[in-house]
């Protein structure tokens, strides 16, 4: 194994960019799991759904995948509100979130995966856009646009949501739901309605994250499962519900994964997230920036 500085630096930089993309994938779970305490393990399935929507829009209509994701954003928002409504009526109100609520999302994940296989088959699908292929050439290294665009989209999304959550009334109400639901009720706000909006937002992020995913790599229906471990490792490591912590965690995981695939081979990369998750849970379950 030949560890050259050049190789190391390239691995770190692509890891950083990859980590930025992981932040886009995790931000929805940071809202649903971190703030609303809804363990949506089906989130990667919604992301894949976003990828396939971008794929259809791109191959049939020739629309840019990111633009397509922005267009279907409201549809994903409504889908998320509908899923939350079912979840609330069937599980949260009956106070049966753990066993059956988890199984519900697991079932959704499976149905989405098999549904996508039935419609699109198991072939890898990809999109075309002008920024897939060329690189931004800097003095010391190249930045592939294919990774840079998702990175930028992800950062815009994270900053936008952070501003929304800390400045607007609704955003503060969402954060309040995470802290004290009863107190919010006493302020004459309806926690169920606020949670429905927040869950809608978390699924809406999946549309953009899905477009980013299919820009970075070709997609097939079972790829979502690899992201479950990653997403939850990032959210737990980042300290639930904290966006800055989540971004740091996402980049850390991106860099470690990128180093692993550079020096040990890409087939080992999926195991990294699990290691990170287990170590975090065993050593510091509240995460690096946990409350």
């Amino acid at each position: 194994m030949d560890v050259s500085l050049d190789l190391l630096m390239n691995a770190v930089i692509s890891g950083l960019l990859l980590g930025g993309f992981y932040a886009a994938v995790s931000i929805g779970v940071a809202i649903s799991f971190g703030m609303l305490d809804i363990v949506n393990i089906a989130h990667p399935a919604f992301i894949l759904l976003g990828s396939y929507v971008a794929y259809i829009a791109n191959t049939m209509l020739g629309i840019d995948p990111i633009l397509a994701a922005v267009i279907v954003l409201p549809a994903f928002y409504l889908l998320g509100m509908a899923v939350y409504q079912v979840y609330y009526v069937a599980f949260e109100r009956r106070d049966d979130q753990s066993l059956r609520g988890l199984s519900f999302f697991f079932g959704l994940l499976f149905i989405a995966e098999v549904g996508l296989i039935l419609v699109f088959g198991v072939d890898y699908r990809s999109v075309s856009a002008r920024y897939i292929g060329p690189s931004l050439q800097l003095v010391l290294f190249d930045l592939p646009w294919r990774l840079l665009v998702p990175f930028l989209v992800s950062m815009v999304m994270a900053v936008g949501l952070q501003v929304f959550l800390s400045r607007s009334f609704l955003g503060r109400a969402i954060q309040a739901v995470a802290q004290d639901q009863l107190a919010l009720q006493l302020m004459a706000a309806n926690p169920v309605k606020i949670k429905r909006i927040a869950f809608g937002l978390s699924i809406a992020t999946a549309s953009l994250a899905g477009a980013c995913l299919i820009i970075i790599q070709p997609v097939e229906p079972s790829i979502g499962r690899e992201y479950i471990g990653r997403v939850f490792a990032i959210c737990v490591l980042g300290g639930l519900g904290s966006f800055p912590g989540m971004i740091i965690a996402a980049m850390t995981l991106g860099i470690v994964e990128s180093l692993t695939s550079t020096f040990f081979g890409p087939s080992w990369a999926p195991a990294v997230a699990f290691g990170v998750l287990l170590v975090t849970l065993a050593v510091r379950p509240s995460g690096i920036l946990g409350r």
Partner: protein, 312 residues
């Protein structure tokens, strides 16, 4: 022992089922029977942890594949080793992994355990895919003997008999747990863990026992798999179908007693087989997922729960 009549009844039922399959003398009956009984074992194993203590294990494929791949390894190292010995080894390996994962994550809230098991499935698959000795991503061939040892007939007869034996063991264990102080401890954890802890129930130890037993039985159910399929690759060994079926069947049948997974496995397994023959194999895998989501929303107590409520 109090459970002896129950075990004798189970053995009698298993004997009748096996006799019936022999009388039919149709290898398709054995193949279908094997799959359904395998799901009874998997569902019962999942239920020991999920139904009794309320901790959800999504990493069924990890434990199942550990059992399957330990058979592949043993078969390569010692080809003459009898299958029951492989099953014991596979079960022990999977049980150890279960206790290890549980030890790291079971002290936290239940969801962390569930998430860790989801990730465990991915990591075990990564390890197997990168392990050339068991064929890596290409998969491994296992040549099974043409005829069955001891009982004669095709080897599939023998596999079916072994699986029936495992099923009797799993059901007897599950029922024994339900009626012992262990079972009451599990139920206390499920209903209110903080209260159980405060009343002096050794919660972590009980949870580890449940995880070990549950993982062990999953491993045992997986151990004969290489001989059943004769070609095992990571994609099929870690198929999400196993996980969904093993969770869906207890939830559909009912999680509160040993009977639930049996009812669920027979109904769903039978229905899947029927759909596979009549419609297509793609539709049959959807069934378990759709039924599971419907049942957890509409009938959270499962089929057994519906009948119990009527009786009261």
């Amino acid at each position: 022992m109090r459970g002896t009549p129950f075990i004798l009844i189970l053995i009698a039922v298993a004997g009748v089922v096996f006799g019936l399959a022999r009388w039919l003398d149709n290898s398709y009956a054995f193949f279908v029977g094997y799959v359904v009984v395998q799901y009874i074992v998997l569902g019962t194993a999942w239920n020991i942890l999920g139904g009794y203590t309320g901790y959800v294990n999504f990493g069924i494929t990890a434990f199942f594949a550990i059992g399957a791949y330990s058979s592949v390894v043993l078969h390569k190292l010692v080809p003459t080793l009898p299958l029951p010995a492989m099953i014991v080894v596979g079960g022990v390996m999977a049980g150890i992994v279960g206790v290890g994962t549980g030890y790291l994550t079971l002290r936290l809230r239940g969801v962390y355990f569930s998430i860790a098991t989801l990730a465990l499935a991915v990591v075990v698959q990564t390890l197997i895919t990168n392990w050339d000795f068991v064929g890596g991503a290409r998969g491994a061939y296992v040549l099974r003997p043409r005829t069955a040892p001891l009982i004669g007939g095709g080897y599939i007869d023998y596999l079916f008999l072994i699986m029936l034996g495992l099923c009797v063991a799993a059901l007897a264990t599950a029922r024994a747990i339900e009626r012992s102080s262990l079972g009451f401890g599990f139920a206390a954890i499920r209903d209110d863990e903080a209260a159980a802890e405060a009343s002096g129930v050794p919660t972590l130890r009980l949870k580890l026992i449940a995880t070990g037993l549950s993982g062990g039985f999953m491993g045992m159910a997986g151990a004969p798999l290489p001989f059943y399929v004769t070609y095992l690759d990571p994609a099929s060994g870690f198929s999400l179908n196993y996980a969904v079926n093993a969770i869906a069947m207890p939830l559909i049948g009912g999680t509160s007693s040993w009977l639930g997974p049996v009812v669920g496995a027979v109904l769903v397994g039978g229905l899947q087989e029927y759909l596979r023959v009549t419609i297509s194999s793609a539709v049959n895998v959807l069934v378990a997922g759709v039924l599971m989501v419907m049942f957890v929303i509409i009938a959270p107590q499962g089929i057994v729960g519906l009948f119990q409520r009527k009786r009261r």
